[in-house]
Symmetry: C2
Subunit: 482 residues, 2 copies
Amino acid sequence: MTASNTRSKYFVEACIEALGAANVLTASHDTAPFLTDWRKRYRGETCAVLLPGDTQQVARAVRLAREHRVPIVPQGGNTGHSGGATPDASGAQVVISLRRMNRIRAIDTINNTITVEAGAILADIQTRAEQEQRLFALSLAAEGSCTIGGNLSTNAGGTAVLRYGNTRELCLGLEVVTPQGDVWDGLRGLRKDNTGYDLRDLYIGAEGTLGIITAAVMKLHPAPVARVTALAALKSPQAALDFFATAQRHAGPLLTGFELMSDFSLHLVTTHFPQMRYPFSARHGQTVLLELSDNESEAHGRALFGRLMEQAMEQGLVEDAVVADSLSQTKAFWNLREHIPLAQAQEGLNIKHDISVPISSIGDFIAQTDALIAQAIPGVRMVTFGHLGDGNLHYNVQAAEGVDPQGFLAEYQASVNALVYEQVNAFHGSISAEHGLGQLKVSEAMHYKSPVEIRLMRAIKTALDPENLMNPAKVLPDARVS
Amino acid sequence: MTASNTRSKYFVEACIEALGAANVLTASHDTAPFLTDWRKRYRGETCAVLLPGDTQQVARAVRLAREHRVPIVPQGGNTGHSGGATPDASGAQVVISLRRMNRIRAIDTINNTITVEAGAILADIQTRAEQEQRLFALSLAAEGSCTIGGNLSTNAGGTAVLRYGNTRELCLGLEVVTPQGDVWDGLRGLRKDNTGYDLRDLYIGAEGTLGIITAAVMKLHPAPVARVTALAALKSPQAALDFFATAQRHAGPLLTGFELMSDFSLHLVTTHFPQMRYPFSARHGQTVLLELSDNESEAHGRALFGRLMEQAMEQGLVEDAVVADSLSQTKAFWNLREHIPLAQAQEGLNIKHDISVPISSIGDFIAQTDALIAQAIPGVRMVTFGHLGDGNLHYNVQAAEGVDPQGFLAEYQASVNALVYEQVNAFHGSISAEHGLGQLKVSEAMHYKSPVEIRLMRAIKTALDPENLMNPAKVLPDARVS
């Protein structure tokens, strides 16, 4: 038995004593679901998966891990896109899953806050809020299985950021177990509090590398009376930008969604899902899906969208438009948007990017980068869609028609990534808008960040986790190997 | 000459060489305005006031200070309420004023961002935004002289937090000179960026103790078409809370202001400023000032307020109401609110608190704390007003009628502060909602914060400013003396 194995053995025994045998998984068929990431890019090993039931148990598990020098990988719903919750291959790391800590501790309809444990499923929080005629505004594809702790640790975005912000903007307070096994009770439900450093925002988006988020106070909003959806057909991303400014002027904060879909994105959807219909009689270069959340009435929202579309068509910004006249049409509109990634998967493997640039640069960014890629790989097909209102594009590259996707990826992935990220950097954008760094993008991030920024990040990591116990090699490379 | 004086002398000479003699103030009549805080509570001394003209000059000044071991006090418009920008009495500290760095570097009306230097005056930024039909939503009493760098360093609040958030929520990116004299260029204009630790929010609200903010990218909003204001008369803070929920349900994100004013607050205003009229025919326990920012039309906003008031009066929540029918009436309503602090000053010195509690607790907090204070000091008069929609009260205590204010303060200030802060703590509130800690509230903050939180704050301070060069003894007590 190696020293590391012996250490693991005593650690696991101590965990069983602290948490109970049922909450310490070691058999490979029990741990397997925790060891592969959602996109199946990474597979790790672990000495145990711990399932603490409350904050004190998390703190005890962390203290034991520290005592036995076992690195910790915190995990929520395991739906991350960047491998941030997957342990490495050594088998020396322990996974602490927050899954059992799924209680909603409190809801306050006057303060408009909900206090939840880290393992609470996003959809369950939405449902609880709805029962009180409140909106919990975070919404994203994985909401049926992702947890709020994971959303906070990656500062998840989603489809309502335009109006409500990212997860960061929806959080008022946190409870965190530090790498020393202490509990920081920062569960404040305050809109204003200026009494020291902003620890809350430091833990948000830190992907479990500075501590383990165990609970949070999240903001609620009064539930809107109606949600109205529309599609607008336009010539180009630049026209979509001009239309965005017009829509914001008309609708102000009522505008909650502004999603761009290129013609080829929709072509893929209607090809692979023939039951879905292209919404206009002729094809157009770009389609925008708009959503408005109205606190007055559905009629008010529909009238507002009607006036907006009329003016935009008069100005020649919009070529065609349709306002959903029923809930089923609204669903059909969103279905188009949500089926793009699925249609792309049907078409074959492709090179994905989750990037952001200043909103005003989107037109230039797409035009220039499309041209560079077309020059490098003739016939390549761009699948460009995303949250235009947030400057956030899913800018994906599909092999030329008839070209084997596997071979395409093997040949071009590295060079296409480099080309896209160089362009993102030139436009002062972000190489990871809403998916975090995890282990997937750490080296790219280190390449594009300034030495000053890396030094500051390293100083914070070392100050809060001097023993490098928390999710090592995520967000920042291990100091020893960097 | 002492060693410290010699050190200062060489330092000042080096600064003159770096910045030019005109930008290094040493004569006492030149430095005096920088050495007393806005509320005249603190008076410090300095070896020099530096006026760098750009970021590189700030960086050079910091490197010189570090080399000569001269502690730095950064200063903006010097309008802070907590003494955070005033040097200590030793004369060994240097003041770095950002006043000359007042350029607006860029405005982007599609991205809805404005890039400003730290010394830009808040009102100038508002004006520049207005020229492009944009709103810069930060608004507060000192806007004619405070700077955005100071607003960011104290995370200032103001009158539009309900809809637009604090300064923190209005900031997308920062440029910061670190205590090592490096420049961190984090001037990103992105709505989404998840590529590492949130350094931006760490510097915001740090009151210059971790580095010097030299520039920022701030969010703009489309300018609303109309602002509609109304007053509502109610029985109690609890009724105001119920009315707040109704108003939010009706107006959603259009509601931008919800200010509470107790009857005695308005009594002081109409007494000391007889030209101001109490707006209702009978007196009422509480008056709420509501504001709505409308992107459609003034008529739409007025109709919405009309329906809201009608329903609230039918429900018995509101006893009387008036919607402003002109800009001058709107101004008159806001004048009432803004004259409360002035009327209070006329009435005599008083004990001020800038506190927040969860919004749902405001009724109970006021009732219980009022009773405790009345019991402790018979006849005392409470001046309670503030941003109810943010849970933020200016909860001020005025001597009983006819009692000498100076004697009242001398006798009761410490015990009243202790009583109020104990109550705030019991209600899970904040002892400094929007004014920061500065030097005024450091020891109180240390009393109420948990040892874990203080340890985390100290770890961050030590990691980023190991030589304790940046605004020592602000926010955290000096390690050597704590």
